[in-house]
Symmetry: C2
Subunit: 251 residues, 2 copies
DNA sequence: CGATAAATTGAATAGGTTCAACCGAAGTGG
DNA sequence: CCACTTCGGTTGAACCTATTCAATTTATCG
């Protein structure tokens, strides 16, 4: 549960009381292997999961047999809160690097919401931010060159990992278990073209690839290159929630 | 407030008691003219709005001076619930067809949430669906031809209007006050190219353009053409919310 | 060790962009 | 009320980014 706590901690002050409540959610830790499909489009939704470690993708199947990845699920991410509102999944979730996740029953999650206003707010916040990430994905893939898209996505992932797993250290958070096909499916490009661009970046010594892991060698240079602005990930102090919170979440 | 009620009614059963509560939200009806900017990126968020009539777009500014439209705001849509969680706007909202909107204070909205479980759930539902619309926008703009993108977006808008304004009648809901530049900014294309594709569609008699309004002349043919599936807009009966609702929203 | 998935490279092609020019309708100000 | 500006739409030609098809290499795994 540490990853989620880190993430929430990043923008909301949680008291020990609250982190304890969060930890109590962690019943069993489920393991999913690479390529496993955790949620399949059309199937009934039964539980939510909180990722502790590993990587997954959420995608939609396309008519032509392809798929469009809508976002990446990293440690600290919750999926799917939709379980409260919809009986069936409208998308699939697949593992791309072995995942350890806490299975959370809708009931226990509901209890959490009812019992802690701070956590309710934090969760809502988290979902607002997820929406911001979705919007950014739209912006990224609209009218931007392939190179920009690729770099932008890599930087986003790097930043998200840094927030959810600060303990891992910087260098560990710059290694991504993403195949070029996955990158392509996320960015609306061909894996072939992704390959060529990555080749370019390698030659410029901005990234490297070690046993199927993409490694960022110069985050600074990459950021400068595309003018990366990670505000949408860093909900900073000035943007803290309104006083109203107490009123809204009387728990 | 009727547009919002229609929309919520579409997937949740609201009792008169609840529609009354909703109607009581409607204090003053604000008017915004075409091209007016209701929310500007970076500015403080003060209120939420519920659109009664008219069209707006939500967009992000790009470094190169352009913009990416992330979605369209139609009658019955609420913006921005972010007012609860963030002090400042991370995007802008601009009017593209004169808007009449109810200004809602965060306070009154909070009261609504606290006082009615049914409405809370309905609102949450609405926000889950908004997320689905965002995801669909990602899918639409990824690895799809310009023609498909354009048609898909038009059909989505048509369906959304039908749900929020059934009273308008079918034909009125097939006329869109969208400039080709706006279409381009939403779909990540050039207005020039949009123009050429629209020309094609006009020649095939699938759409027409009357005084700056795009008119869908054959929804069926357009749908067939791209295999349009509007499930993500029609949260149908089988997907109704879980029993759990009462537990979660004890109001 | 063979089998399967991912990465790599080349050549031809296409879908969309860019630049540039022009038109028509709707406002706007004198 | 007309002249002027502005905005949105239209068209053509050259160009370029990314795709397609096809073949080859490199890893990884049972």
């Amino acid at each position: 549960m540490q990853a989620l706590i880190n993430r929430l901690q990043y923008y909301a002050q949680l008291r020990t009381e609250e982190t304890t409540k969060l930890k109590s959610l962690a019943s069993k830790l489920e393991l999913f292997r690479k390529n496993e499909t955790i949620v399949r489009s059309g199937d009934p939704l039964k539980n939510a999961y909180i990722i502790e470690d590993g990587w997954a993708i959420r995608y939609h199947d396309l008519q032509d047999g392809g798929r469009q990845i809508v976002n990446f699920l990293l440690p600290g991410d919750i999926f799917d809160l939709q379980v409260f509102v919809s009986e069936t999944a409208d998308h699939s979730v697949q593992v791309i690097a072995d995942v350890a996740a806490h299975e959370i029953s809708p009931r226990s999650l509901a209890n959490l919401f009812v019992n802690s206003s701070a956590l309710s707010l934090a969760m809502w916040w988290s979902s607002v931010q997820e929406e911001a990430i979705l919007r950014e994905q739209i912006v990224r893939n609209g009218r931007r060159s392939a190179k920009r898209r690729i770099i932008h996505l890599l930087l986003e992932l790097q930043r998200r990992l840094e927030i959810a797993q600060p303990s891992r250290g910087i260098s560990a958070n710059r290694q991504f278990p993403i195949s070029q096909t996955v990158l392509a499916d996320a960015l609306g490009l061909t894996s072939i073209h992704v390959n060529r661009i990555l080749g370019e970046l390698k030659r410029q010594d901005l990234i490297s690839i070690k046993n199927r892991l993409i490694v960022l060698r110069d985050v600074r240079a990459l950021s400068d290159m595309i003018g990366f602005d990670c505000d949408y990930l860093d909900v900073n102090q000035q943007k803290r929630p309104k006083v109203l919170a107490g009123e809204l979440w009387s728990g």
